[in-house]
Symmetry: C2
Amino acid sequence: MQYASWMEESGESFIGEMLKAAQNPSMISFAGGLPALELFPDQALQRSFQHVFEEQGKPALQYAQTAGHPQLRQWLAEQHKHNGKPVKIEEIAVTTGSQQGLSLLAQTFLDPGDVVFVETPTYIGAIQAFQSFRAQMMMIPCDEQGVIPEELEKKLKLVTPKFLYLIPNYQNPSGKVMGLERRIELLHVAKAHDLLVVEDNPYGELRFEGEKSPNLIELGDNVIYLGTFSKVLSPGLRVGYVVADPDIINHLCQTKEGVDLHSNNLTQRAVLEFLKEGLLPGHIQNLRTVYKERRNAMVRAVEKYLGNEVEMIIPSGGLFLWARFKKITNSFDYVQETIRQNVLYVPGALFYPDGRVTSEVRLNYSCSTPEIIDEGIQRLARAIKG
Amino acid sequence: MQYASWMEESGESFIGEMLKAAQNPSMISFAGGLPALELFPDQALQRSFQHVFEEQGKPALQYAQTAGHPQLRQWLAEQHKHNGKPVKIEEIAVTTGSQQGLSLLAQTFLDPGDVVFVETPTYIGAIQAFQSFRAQMMMIPCDEQGVIPEELEKKLKLVTPKFLYLIPNYQNPSGKVMGLERRIELLHVAKAHDLLVVEDNPYGELRFEGEKSPNLIELGDNVIYLGTFSKVLSPGLRVGYVVADPDIINHLCQTKEGVDLHSNNLTQRAVLEFLKEGLLPGHIQNLRTVYKERRNAMVRAVEKYLGNEVEMIIPSGGLFLWARFKKITNSFDYVQETIRQNVLYVPGALFYPDGRVTSEVRLNYSCSTPEIIDEGIQRLARAIKG
């Protein structure tokens, strides 16, 4: 018995290890990307599910269309624009969370050895999805706004990637935001080189301050947009979606048919009920308030306990704070010690497909109260300072 | 922009086309594999979902473990044996329907060009899953009980496949069942050649007559078992599972992490509630009674309207009747005419990875009443006889 060759490269799942360590009840975890449990609108969702059972009944339990529940697709289409034009239902496919969107894109576009451009650093789940389809990832240099257009252009002269993957809003892991000017410049380069851009936007609605910039897909063609309800509603329901040209949607659905036939029918209908009740905007407002408080608490705690030890990027939205320890070389070396101190973080190396040595760490603040954040950063300081 | 090379080979999705044609309300569809809508236990499931919301609340909406909800895995482990021994929780992973089980297996085991052995004919969804990971499928000759051990042995002397895929109970599309003797012989050959066997068992519980044989996984090692609640409870909920050695489960979960992180958390818990209520056995009994009636109705109608035109295999369980038209060459040629007559079937060619010309058809009886079955076969006879 022999596994596929790509698996040998990926070793033990660090995320899996972290999830297990996180089960220790005295552990404070800054490692995950979990939304705040206590804020889930479970009662409203319960009513949505009940409503679907009562009003729609048995058809909600039957096989369904691969592209998703038509009324949910319609609702999603109405929320988006594509290069200034209204989005049509043919431009939407529902996915089993937006991780599936990434995996479907990889499967649909990548031949073994194909090149994908990513930000430096980039999202772990994207690295996993692309690696498992044998992509070669190339990191494009970034500044405080993300991908630098000139650097992108330089790389495009050397290689032709299948697509560029990025998170323009509150990037995972760096928390960076791409400004409007930068978005326009980037799309300009993409257009000139016929480059497909994959815009992943799980955190865009979680804005604490600053102006909202239009999504890349609103500004240009050649963009595939990944959306999700995981961060604004519930990740356990696994409802994400893709917005793209109908031909791309058709190809993604052809892939999806072989992958899981379609996403959970009942859940898609229940999420639509929730959306139609108009409950999402108020809930998002609530998330913003609470997460901003927690972001503030984490920034304060880092300054208090690690002031001289770290440089950090203060995020203006999203779930993560990205920090670099100035006096250590490799943040991976401290994982065991921090587990002993009952606190978890993700070492920065995991966000670089080349697995470089780095003293950076990603800290999540969304699922801990300010008090717990304070205690956790104190523990972290203890572990790092020894 | 360029799609992955495997996509070019797969052309338009016939299943997708059929699903669209099936939306015409005057269409009688024998093409799908849909369970009977009117039998879904929607009220009991509504109570299960409500119970989860009330008793477990918010944690049911959070991210969850990739391998599945622990209590559901535990329940599933208790239902199975592996080579005579009780199954442990480490041997179970929950999947997003059992189509995902197939896709995860392909992704986890196959390098491009790897060989997979399949039955002749075999399940379309498996062909899709294996093709999209660039497998080379080799069809093993079958008799009325499925794969012929001597033929399997002959092929094993020529090539080493990654695994053999089969459906021992009420095979899709042929409806065949593998007897106990044959199972033992097959596992004997597999063991001698260190061959991994993938046992897909969506229909095993839908038995109309005859003795139940033990699953392959109960009889030997080197077996990966795919189970699902799609045919006995609800396909729209997308809950399937894999039983295999812990090392295989770990690798499948490593793959699944990049594919969709985990399956719907809330739904897994609700399905477990339903199971714990002890409602499944009675429901399955009901399905058997109704599907047997429909099987009988279809056999009667085929004899009545197509008596001299076809040879059929009368299935002793499952959802499908497999028939060969004696006076035509290619059942694909009649699809347009049958759509005009408002009846759908699946042409046999789709179940052969080599796309051979065949006059066979697959007819589904589970989702039509005896009256509709009679009318539909009458229409089919009209289309075929001209």
